[in-house]
C-alpha cells in the first residue's frame, strides 16, 4: 500500500539532479484522487521519457506542500489552484500548465440533511478558505439563498472530516477525494450535490510548475505534460492498471476508491480561459483575492497545446 511506500531518494534538494543521465523533475503531491494522473504517469509514463525522470514527493497537507513549491524545493506540484494563484499574487513565479482533474468534488452531508437550507445553523467543514471547495460552498449557499453567516464554517484537515461527520461534530463537508467517498461508502454520509451541479467546469487542482523551471527546461516540461495528458486519458479509458496504481498511492479501501472514481474525470485537462476567469471572479467576489493574476500571466497552455494537438 501507499503508506508503506518507502522512497530511497530521500535527499530532495533544490537542484534538479541527474539520474542515469536523465534530468530529475520533482513534483509534489498529496495522496488524493485529484492527483491520480501523476501516479499513473509515474508508473506507466516513466519508461517513455527520453530526457527526464520524474520523482513524486508526497506531502501530508497543503501548507507544507506550498512551502516546498514556493521555495523551489520541488519543480512543480499538483495543488489546489487557488493556493497557486495566491502564491503568484504574492510574487512567486508559478505557472499552471494543466488541470489535475475535472469535477469530482462532492458535498457530503449527514443523512438527516436533505436540502441546503437544512444546513442552516449547522457546522460545515472545508479544507480551508483558499480552495475550490469554499467557492462551491459559496455557490451552493447562494443558490439556496443563504450566505456564509448562516452556517458555522470550519477549516479542518481533510483526513479528520469523515470522523467528524460520523461523530456528528459537523453536518457536512466539501473536500478533495477520496475523503468524500470515505463517508459515503461507509454510509455515514450522502452526496447532496456534485460539483458540476453547482459550478460547471469548476477548476480545482492543477498541475503547477515553477516559472524558472519552465524557462530553463521547456523541453522537460513538454515531456512531462505529454505523459501527464496521456495518463489522464488512460485513466478515463478505465485502463486496467488504474485500480492497482491508485491503490498503491492511496491506501484506501476498494469501494471508497471506486466510488470516488465515479465522480471524477481526467480527460481534457487544459485550463480554459473562461473557466479560469470564472474562478477569478469568485475569488474577487468572495474577497479571497484582491488582485489575482490574469489568465495570461498564470496559465501557460503552450505545452498542453503542443502535446494534445499532436
Amino acid at each position: 500500500g501507499g503508506s508503506q511506500n518507502v522512497s530511497n531518494t530521500e535527499n530532495v534538494t533544490n537542484d534538479t539532479k541527474n539520474e542515469g543521465g536523465k534530468q530529475t523533475v520533482k513534483i509534489a503531491y498529496l495522496p488524493i484522487t485529484h492527483a491520480l494522473p501523476l501516479y499513473v504517469e509515474n508508473e506507466l509514463g516513466q519508461e517513455n521519457f527520453k530526457n527526464i525522470h520524474i520523482e513524486l514527493v508526497k506531502f501530508g497537507s497543503w501548507p507544507e506542500l506550498m512551502d516546498a513549491l514556493n521555495t523551489g524545493s520541488v519543480d512543480g506540484a499538483s495543488v489546489l489552484i487557488e493556493l497557486a494563484i495566491k502564491a503568484k499574487e504574492q510574487g512567486i513565479d508559478l505557472k499552471a500548465v494543466a488541470l489535475g482533474h475535472r469535477d469530482g468534488n462532492v458535498v457530503v452531508v449527514s443523512p438527516d440533511i436533505s436540502t441546503t437550507s437544512d444546513l442552516k445553523g449547522k457546522t460545515f467543514a472545508i479544507p480551508h478558505r483558499m480552495s475550490t471547495h469554499n467557492i462551491l460552498l459559496y455557490q451552493m449557499l447562494k443558490d439556496a439563498g443563504l450566505s456564509f453567516s448562516d452556517l458555522d464554517i470550519v477549516e479542518l484537515p481533510p483526513p479528520e472530516m469523515p470522523a467528524a461527520l460520523s461523530e456528528g461534530r459537523i453536518s457536512g463537508y466539501l473536500v478533495a477525494e477520496p475523503f468524500g467517498a470515505k463517508a459515503v461508502a461507509g454510509n455515514k454520509g450522502k452526496v447532496l450535490y456534485y460539483s458540476k451541479d453547482l459550478w460547471k467546469d469548476s477548476v480545482c487542482c492543477g498541475l503547477v510548475l515553477r516559472g524558472d523551471f519552465i524557462k530553463n527546461n521547456p523541453a522537460a516540461a513538454e515531456e512531462l505534460l505529454k505523459e501527464y495528458v496521456a495518463a489522464g486519458e488512460y485513466i478515463d479509458s478505465k485502463g486496467e492498471k488504474v485500480q492497482e496504481i491508485s491503490k498503491n498511492y492511496m491506501n484506501v479501501e476498494q469501494n471508497v476508491l471506486d466510488l470516488s472514481m465515479e465522480w471524477i474525470s481526467y480527460n481534457d485537462l487544459k485550463i480554459y480561459e473562461k473557466d479560469y476567469n470564472d474562478l477569478i471572479k469568485y475569488l474577487v467576489e468572495m474577497g479571497l483575492s484582491e488582485n489575482p493574476p490574469s489568465y495570461e500571466d498564470f496559465v501557460d497552455n503552450s505545452f498542453i497545446d503542443k502535446v494534445v494537438i499532436k
Binding site: 495566491k86 510574487g91 483558499m130 479542518l156 483526513p159 479528520e160 467528524a164
Partner: protein, 258 residues
Amino acid sequence: MSRLRKLINTLIGLVILLAVWQGIVLTGKYDTSLLPPPQKVLHGMGELIENGTLFTHITVSLYRFFAGYLSAVAAGIVLGLIFGWFNKLWGIFDPIVQVLRPISPIAWFPFIVLWFGIGDTPAIVIIFIAAFFPVLLSTVSAVSKVDQTYLKVAKNFGIKQPHILTKIIFPAAFPYIATGLHLALGTAWVFLVAGEMVGAQSGLGYLIIDARNNIRPDLVLAGIIFIGISGLILDRLIRLLENWVGKNWGIVPNERGI
C-alpha cells in the same frame, strides 16, 4: 539599576536580532515574498493590531491555553499525589505513561477529532496532553522525594489521612511540583499552534496556519513574534509563582530558568 540593565540588554538583543534578519534579507539571496524584511512584518503586526483581530486571537488562545493547562495541572497533581502515595499503583501505570508520553499530540489528531470534535475542544485537549505528563511525572517524583522526616513528624503527632496528604505531602511536594508546572507551561505553549490546527477559526496558532495558507510569510512572522512574546510573558508569570512558592516554602529561589 538592575532593571535598567535588563531593559538595555533586551534592547541590545532585539537590535542584534533585527540586524541579523535585515542582513539576511539584504543579501538578496531570498525572495522578499518568502522572507519578508522586518519593516514589512512590523507593518503586518500593525495591521493585526489596528483591525483588532490580534486582540481576539490572543484572548481566544489564552482561553484555550488556560483551559487546557489548568485542567492538566489539576488532573496531573491529583493523580500524581495518588500515584505517588500508592507506589504499587504507579508501578502498573508507569509503563503506560512512559509509552504514551513520547507521542506527539499531532499523532493523536484523528482520535482527538473522533472524541472531542472540532473547534475549541481539540485545542484544549492537545494543550492538556502536552501539559499533563510533565505535571503528573513531576508530582509523582515530588511525592516520592518528600522528606521521610515530615512523615515521621506527622505520624508522631497523630495526623491521619486525608490530613497527611493535605497538610504534609502536598505542601512538602509543592516546590518540586511548581518546577513541573513551569516546565509544563513551556511545553504546552509550544503546542498551541498544533492545537489550533484542528478546526479552530481563531487564535494565534490559527493566525499562523491561516497566514501560511494565504502565503503571507510576513503574517506568519508576526504570529511567531506574538506567540514568542506571549510565551515569554507567561514564563515570567509562572516564574513569579515559583519565587513566591520559594519564599513561602523556605527555599532559595531557583535560578534554573528551564
